[in-house]
């Protein structure tokens, strides 16, 4: 397999853009990534795109075809990847494979989405053979409630307080102040977070990510192409995809088996992250900055533990002692994370790659992790999809 370089990063800011189409958002991101790479559109040999259920793609998730139409139809192959909120990470993985395998030398990876208002609705399948439909009509368990279950169990296990949950949101916004691409860029306080509406106790409005519109794009290429274009390429140390394990104890559907130790862990995310670390030959100590999928503040506590970055129950201490700030021992989400961006679901995995890229180049301004050399990005999507990427400079 060949080495894969990242040479172009581009984003449209996250927010709500009623007067712009998803094509317009993608255009801004793709143009920026091509310009950053010093690559013309006609030089792109393949596109790997995240498929959206919510916007563009002609109802079939053909979002990569939309980008090709808009940029100019050159006859190149397109791969539209569907993996819920992990689709951006999944597209990046497939893009790297296209380069690593020798199939293509210059590939664009893109994700863009405009989200409908309000909490994400279920699939719309109304059949009692559909477990998700049954779960909603028999009980009524919207997405944030799943996060609340996980968080409440942690509070019972480790004594996590509501104030600590609020502090994670405060930290996220503190980072986002310095990120021109984030949607929520005003500092907040523990009092303000605790005063925001309860969504699903113990989680409050400011502690979960809302839906947003946004787009991000990345240009990747072979080592030979990278050397022609830049003296400072970034390298894909590993890109990994996993699905959930049968016995992880996570209450995804109506019911499952009680795991032997009664514990639960997000096996799709852990599988991808541990797989990436193994492939890269880099352990938690070798990673300088992490962009993880914080749909809710809870994940900033649970994920580092599930991946072996700290001991179970230690994450609250890392938070309280400032170790997860850009200047700390384990910087988490210097971008401001999903809490500050909101979720344009299928573009998320690529905004993370862009942020890691800027961090590793030293271009992250006031949110810069000092001397960051290696970064990890992780996504988790509906259906038990997980992805992880490790970049190095």
């Amino acid at each position: 397999m060949r080495d894969v370089a990242v040479i172009g990063l581009g984003m449209h800011p996250w927010g709500k853009f009623a007067d712009k189409s998803v094509q317009q958002l993608c255009r801004v991101a793709v143009d920026a990534a091509l310009k950053d790479a010093g690559v013309a559109w006609r030089e792109i040999q393949a596109v790997a795109a995240a498929s959206s259920r919510f916007s563009g793609g002609r109802g079939w998730g053909l979002n990569g075809n939309d980008v090709i139409d808009d940029m100019g139809m050159t006859g190149i192959p397109v791969y539209n990847l569907s993996a819920g909120c992990a689709a951006g990470g999944n597209a990046f993985n497939v893009g790297t494979m296209l380069v690593a395998s020798g199939q293509h030398d210059m590939v664009l990876v893109v994700g863009g989405e405009k989200m409908p208002k309000g909490f994400i609705q279920t699939s719309g399948v109304e059949e009692t053979t559909d477990p998700e439909y049954l779960r909603q009509i028999c009980i009524g368990v919207p997405g944030p409630t799943f996060w609340a279950f996980m968080c409440r169990r942690r509070m019972a296990d480790h004594g996590t307080t509501e104030e600590q949950l609020a502090k994670i949101a405060v930290k996220a916004r503190k980072n986002a102040v310095h990120n021109p691409y984030a949607r929520f860029r005003k500092e907040t306080s523990v009092e303000e977070v605790m005063g925001s509406a309860l969504v699903s106790y113990p989680l409050r409005l400011f502690e979960i990510c809302p839906v947003s519109d946004g787009a991000a794009a990345v240009v990747i290429c072979s080592a030979a192409e990278a050397r022609k274009r830049t003296t400072t390429p970034l390298w894909v140390a590993a890109s990994s995809v996993a699905t959930a394990r049968f016995d992880d104890g996570i209450p995804r559907g109506l019911a499952g088996a009680v795991p032997a130790d009664r514990r639960a862990y997000h096996s799709e995310a852990a599988g991808a992250v541990r797989g990436a670390m193994q492939r890269a030959g880099i352990g938690p100590d070798g990673i300088d900055v992490v962009e993880l999928q914080d749909n809710t503040v809870y994940y900033e506590l649970s994920f580092p533990e599930e991946w072996g970055f700290c001991e179970p129950g230690e994450a609250e201490h890392l938070l309280e002692s400032g170790q997860t700030l850009p200047t700390g021992r384990l910087p988490i989400n210097p971008s401001g994370g999903f809490i500050s961006f909101g979720e344009a679901t299928t573009a998320q995995g690529l905004f993370q790659i862009c942020e890691l890229g800027w961090q590793l180049r030293g271009d992250a301004g006031a949110r810069q992790v000092p001397d960051a050399k290696v970064g990890l990005a992780q996504t988790l999507g509906l259906g038990g999809n997980g992805t992880a990427t490790i970049l190095k400079r």
Binding site: T128, Q136, C138, P142, M150, R153, A156, Y201, P251
Partner: protein
Amino acid sequence: MAGRIPVAEGLFAETADGARLIGSRCATCGTPYFPKVDYCRHPECGASKLEDAGFGPDGTIWSCAIQDYPPPAPARFDKPYKPYAMAVVDLADGLRVLGQIKADDIRAIRPDTKVRLVVDTLCHDEAGNEVVTWKFQPVAAEESA
């Protein structure tokens, strides 16, 4: 005439010694399933051999949450909306299952509380029927009632 109808057919039953969830269990590897499945899904199971099984009524709350805002469709509830509690319950017979909580003080519900499976009102339909579903009731609250 208005009556009492289950929210979905074939998912639960009321028996002389309490409510049961209707599912299946693999005779080869022991994995429990709710609702019923056609084939055992345990990746290490050598031979799928599913038998009908009832689950409950005794269990322990693994975790719980409160639905503080009205859930989107197709969730069903009576108006005006009143927040309800939900739990992930580990049943003594090995099933980890979700359900609403039946309790007067939903904010007092904690993980690791002992509960019992019951059949209780979910909402009322347009014809005035009482629509019922399975729920979990804290054991201590039930005994002191």
